[in-house]
Every structure is written in C-alpha cells, then in structure tokens.
C-alpha cells in the first residue's frame, strides 16, 4: 500500500487542480485516464510474453545471441528487436530487464533501449509522412551510430556493482526500494 503513495499524491493534485481550475483538472483527469488506457493496451501482454520468455527461452540462447561474446551479431539483433517494436518506451524497460536477466550484455540492452526509443519503424513511417523522407531517413541513419556509441559508453561508465543490480533484476527487488 505504501508504494501507492506517489500515485495517490498525484491523484490528489489532479483533484486539487479540479477545485481551483475545473477545466484544467478535468483535462488532466481525462488525459491521465487516456494514458492509462494506452498503457493497458501494451504493457499487460508485454509482461505475459516476458513470462513465457522467462520459462521457455534457455539462458544459453540469449547468452549466445546477445551476451558478452555475441559481438556484432548481438548489436545488430538489439537494433532489429528495438526497431521492430511498437509502443511507448516505458514498455521496453521490463523487456530489457528480462533480457539482462537471461545474460544479455549490458551494451546490447542499452542499444535495444535506444533503438526502441528512436528507431521504431512504425514511428519512422509516421515521421516520413509528416516531416518528409529526407528528414526521417537522415535522422534514422544518424541515430544508428549514436545509440551504439551511447550503449557502449554506458557499459564503460557503469561499474560492476551497477551492473549486478541490473543483472539480478527480479520482480522481488522492486518491492524493496
């Protein structure tokens, strides 16, 4: 129950906003509700699929494909998986954490997050129709080396203790903080 305190605070702020500026408060409530529906469209199936992934995919497979010694294959795979995704970035966090748990290299996880955030193909199509092909294609191409560099720098900057924390991710750990 204590962990719901922040959500309750925000709900209270929206209620407060409703009292001082009814129109804004109403909008905030509606927008939060629509953000919640957006979340429910993607996140529960993602967790259900992660459950299957956890049970069925052997650790060895992920280590081979995306682990420490996966090399360029691991990076390309991370980019492909991230770019093929749809849905907001927050849905990528549990996926990345599940990959980490199965032995994926940290840089690859960061590359996957980067690709999901900015290389998503559905987004790219939208971007092309709004801002033009030159803009969308250039931005996509400039981002590919960028997310790889960011991924490897992250790997370099983080100490072993930071990585252990990520690699040992289990649902239970979320209860402690």
């Amino acid at each position: 129950m204590k962990r719901y305190a922040p959500s309750l605070c925000i709900a209270a702020s929206i209620a407060f906003l409703y009292f001082i500026r009814p129109e804004l408060g109403r909008q905030a409530a509606l927008k939060s509700a629509s953000a919640m529906i957006e979340m429910l469209r993607v996140v529960p199936p993602v967790f259900l699929l992660l459950g299957l992934f956890d049970v069925w995919v052997p650790r060895q497979t992920i280590i081979r494909l995306m682990g420490e010694r996966s090399g360029a294959l691991g990076t390309i795979l991370s980019i492909t998986l991230g770019a093929a995704a749809a849905g907001p970035l927050y849905a990528a966090f549990p996926v990345a954490a599940a990959m980490a748990k199965k032995g994926a290299k940290f840089a690859n996880i960061a590359v996957f997050l980067g690709a999901w955030s900015t290389l998503k193909i559905p987004m790219f199509l939208f971007e092309t129709s709004s801002l033009g092909a030159v803009f969308a294609v250039s931005r996509w191409l400039i981002n590919v080396p960028g997310i790889i560099v960011i991924g490897y720098l992250l790997e370099k900057f983080l100490g072993p203790e930071d990585k252990t924390r990520i690699y040992s991710y289990e649902g239970e750990h979320l209860n402690q903080a």
Partner: protein, 160 residues
C-alpha cells in the same frame, strides 16, 4: 486498435500452445507475469498521472508558442527541455512538429524537439531507474540529450 487486438490475440495463442506443451511451465510463466506487473504497477500509475498533468499544463499550443517564436540558443535550449520533459505519442507529436515547421520554426529546432521527445524521458525516469538503477538511467538520458543536439545540428545542415 488493431495492433492492440493482434497483440492480445497473439499472446493468448502463445499461452494456449505453451499450455498444451507444458502445463506447469505455463502456470509459472503466468504467475511471474502477474507478479512482475503488479510489482511495477504503482510506479506506472504515478508516471501516467504525471503524464496527464504535464500534458494538461504544457499543452501542444503552448509548446508551439514557445518553440515557434523563439530562435537562437535560448530557443533551442527551451525546445530541448520541452522535448525532454514531455511525453507525447507520435500521432500527436509529428503533426505538431509539422505545424511548428509551417509556422517558421527551424529544422534544427524541430529535430531537437523530435529527438529529445523520443530519446529523453524525464517523466519516465522513476520507472527507468527502478529497472536499471538511478546511475544507468541518468547516464542514458544525459547522453541521449547531448546526442540530440548533434542530431539537430546535422539535420539542420542536411535538410533544406
């Protein structure tokens, strides 16, 4: 909507197949999924509430007014901050970016806005650090923020 339906249908199908192949493992998978979802749900709800609040207080019109009217370094900085703190779905963000462009915003600022919007997430930061630790989340966002300026600079040169 169709994407959501296919995602749910595909997930159910996989569970049926999994259940036929191994009952115990499938129950285990479902239990894990349920537990990890419920574990992170409080954080999700808080973040979604903040998105609703932020999106109301910083409406697309206001974003347009700020990024469209200001130019120079201050305009760029402001644009990058707005892109970083807001979380707008693509189907609103791109048409908004297009209208800003039509209103006379520079390609550089549009690129900065789109890039920070997608790569930097201040609102989702609590969620990200819950999974990856504060240090990793902070570093990723800071580097993505810096890289956005590089992207914006290059796009300003390339796109005419």
């Amino acid at each position: 909507m169709s994407f959501t339906v296919s995602l749910y249908v595909a997930t159910s199908l996989l569970y049926v197949i999994s259940f036929i192949r191994n009952r115990a493992s499938t129950v285990q998978a479902f239990t894990k999924a349920k537990k990890s979802f419920l574990n992170i749900l409080p954080d999700f709800l808080a973040v979604l509430g903040i998105i609703g609040l932020a999106f109301t207080l910083v409406s697309p019109n206001k974003i347009g007014a700020i990024t469209g009217e200001r130019s120079g370094i201050l305009g760029s900085l402001l644009t990058s901050v707005i892109g970083s703190v807001t979380l707008i779905p693509g189907f609103i963000a791109f048409p908004l970016a297009k209208s800003l462009l039509d209103m006379g915003a520079s390609i550089r600022n549009i690129a900065l806005f789109v890039s920070t919007l997608m790569m930097v997430g201040c609102v989702t930061f609590p969620l990200e650090s819950r999974y990856f630790g504060r240090k990793a989340a902070l570093l990723r966002n800071v580097m993505a923020y810096i890289y956005s300026f590089f992207v914006a600079f290059l796009l300003g040169v390339i796109v005419k």
